[in-house]
Symmetry: C2
Subunit: 413 residues, 2 copies
């Protein structure tokens, strides 16, 4: 009897459900009896919220819809387990519940924070000599996971960003007077997503005029001058900027705004966006029409424009985690290893979770241009294979059809 | 010898180039010699900026790319001709240029402001007994044109909005704590676009919790209370709001913000968005996590997710304008007439431009629910046929391929 359990954690992506399907189908193929799902990750599991995935994925149509449904089907959480030494009770509780469900292997799909859960559970499991295997499946649009060549979720977000920026450029250049557009892209500390804006340029598109990553210190005065030079050419300008750009003293650019939007009940200042601030500076100085565009959560949930390469790799990462666990591995994360550049080929490889949990991978300095306003051809070459090929939505009545967890499918909560 | 000329004006859409193609191909089919394009509309024409479209659309691939390229291929302008009585010289100049190019018919693709150009030119043409025919081709994502059942451009924007809102809802409901999301949708005076958010709801989606159109006075206190009630249920909330909602005293909601972002060189106050303001109010009062999402220009240029019905109707409107002009009509606009509800069928019909220019059509009161927080089934039934069917981008190297006017294709400027 081999029951397995799987959870999703952290920010959702367009393909996180493909990894879920990869775990589900591979586990079933390899003889798993029950495949349980944690509702809202390890936090939901601690509250006893578990579903039987077989009851939700009843046929091939359900599974094809799951691949095309954005966000985390099982729900997500942002929850860090305590340190084992500080609170052994939480771990006892988890392992008791796992035993009750007769769990053979435990899979967790998430980013570097979520991999901390796999690390702690496998460490505790080793300590108490539990036979349960713990495997991590990588997921994050941010692409900031260590060891792996890239992360599932990144390619689809990059495809969305490049496509949208291409469309914004066509739109932005339509008038005969200059319009200054700033596109704000996710990534607090790593510029991988913002770098994807570079893919918009090509035979049929002017591309963006500048790209600012959080890996470089942002100089607002220099930015203003540089934009002035671009605007002097009398044409519209489109720049991409990471939400995470910071000035020399360490403050985020969005924190430079003279006003705050509001202070919430927890006393957190809610700041106007980076794009809005920079557009405001340029408007004030040069008197041009400006646009501030935040791609916001759209960039992580646009499953109507998924990368098929990304979707396949996400599925494979889930499947490889099951394979590794069933072959006896534990305390590892599936990584992607680029074994060939041209043609692009990537394989999966399990790697010790201790090298991955809580580690953040940034864009290497040599992939950012010397003036800090762009990325190199090498970086474009790195991203390009990840956005290739498409998977069309299942269109029903003019809209992409999804599948969701409903009250009736929540068998235990 | 039948030369024709065509221009694009006002805000771009995903399908305005399909109308351009409809004009081009139909004119060619019906024996036009040259098909000229005005670069940046009538304003560019006044500056002598004219191109020969045959030199740009060299083959069928170019034409298929044109259909799939967002924004106005020929460039656009926001320019209103003077009143004839105030400045006859401008008209003399235009007609002199038209004569030089030996123009038989003049086509202008645009919204209600742009139709003013057709009105004035045809009025002046009649006055001087010019044989040139002037025809308007409707275009606007706002769907606020009079007489016509709907406008080309609206269906694709509605499809984008409904798809994106569906994805935002899946994303917004992923955590086990409530998140309050406000999606801000275009439409200063008419709520047609915002109403399209209603299409997100269905078998596979919870739909939005409320929709606020600019046709109803917005009450911020009531909004706050209503959102409080929704949030009390402990779940995430997603609402759609028009950028144009106004409070009782006539101010836009976004003008209520205590701060302004900046004042530009022309002294125009640039306001923080409506969504941001409302999210701020809710965050402050209820202490929940909020998200303000502006669909911004993405909703008008997302040609990667066009409605095929919309594209076809846009093409047909362009073609019908040529047919009407070649049959002797002038001073008219092509309208769409819904001749059957179920199955949906729409035909084109020319209509006097004087009934259409400068007139704005709003959402009828009976299509808004009594509580002002939603739209009726009738409105959903009205929009639904317009978002049907798809046309896939031509994917090249992972991205939708476009076509653009380049320096080398500008034959006269």
């Amino acid at each position: 009897m081999k029951n397995v359990i799987v959870g999703q954690s952290g920010g959702p992506t367009a393909v996180i459900n493909s990894s879920l399907l990869g775990v589900y189908k591979t586990a079933k193929d390899r003889g798993a009896d029950k495949v349980y799902g944690m509702v809202h990750g390890i936090k939901g599991f601690l509250d006893g919220r578990v579903v039987d995935l077989s009851q939700m994925l009843k046929n091939e149509l359900d599974m094809d819809l799951l691949k095309r449904t954005p966000s985390s089907f099982l729900g997500s959480c942002r929850y860090k387990l305590p340190e084992i030494k500080d609170d052994e009770k939480t771990f006892e509780k988890i392992f008791k519940s796992l035993k009750e469900l007769d769990i053979y292997a435990f899979f967790y799909i998430g980013g570097n924070d979520s991999m901390d859960t796999i690390k702690k559970l496998s460490d505790y499991g080793e300590k108490i000599k539990s036979p349960i295997r713990f495997m991590g499946v990588p997921k994050t649009i941010d692409n900031d996971l260590a060891v792996t060549d890239h992360t599932p979720g990144y390619g689809s977000a990059a495809k969305y960003i490049a496509t949208t920026v291409k469309e914004i450029i066509r739109d932005g250049l339509v008038y005969d007077y200059p319009v200054f557009s700033v596109v704000e892209i996710m990534g607090r500390n790593a510029g991988w997503l913002t770098a994807a804006a570079a893919l918009a340029g090509g035979e049929d598109c002017e591309g963006v005029d500048a790209i600012y990553l959080p890996e470089r210190v942002f100089d607002v005065d220099k930015f203003e001058n540089d934009m002035g030079k671009l605007l002097k050419q009398g044409r519209s300008v489109v720049v991409a900027v990471s939400e995470g750009v910071k000035v020399k003293d360490g403050r985020y650019v969005c924190e430079l705004s003279e006003h705050i939007d509001y202070t919430d009940a927890f006393g957190h200042k809610q700041l106007a966006g980076t794009a809005r601030y920079l557009a405001g500076r340029v408007a004030k100085k040069y008197g041009v029409k400006t646009r501030a565009i935040e791609l916001s959560s759209l960039q992580r949930c646009a499953s109507h424009i998924m990368s098929r390469v990304d979707m396949t790799e996400a599925y494979n990462a889930g499947g490889a985690a099951v394979k590794a666990a069933f072959e006896g591995k534990s305390g590892q994360v599936i990584t992607l290893k680029r074994v060939s550049e041209d043609p692009y080929m990537c394989i999966t490889e399990p790697h010790d979770v201790h090298d991955i949990a809580n580690v953040e991978k940034k864009v290497p300095s040599e992939w950012i241009t010397a003036d800090g306003m762009g990325v190199t051809e090498e970086l474009v070459h790195y991203i390009s294979p990840l956005i290739q090929a498409e998977i069309a939505p299942l269109w029903v009545d003019g809209l992409p059809r999804h599948i969701r967890l409903t009250a009736s499918t929540k068998v235990k909560s």
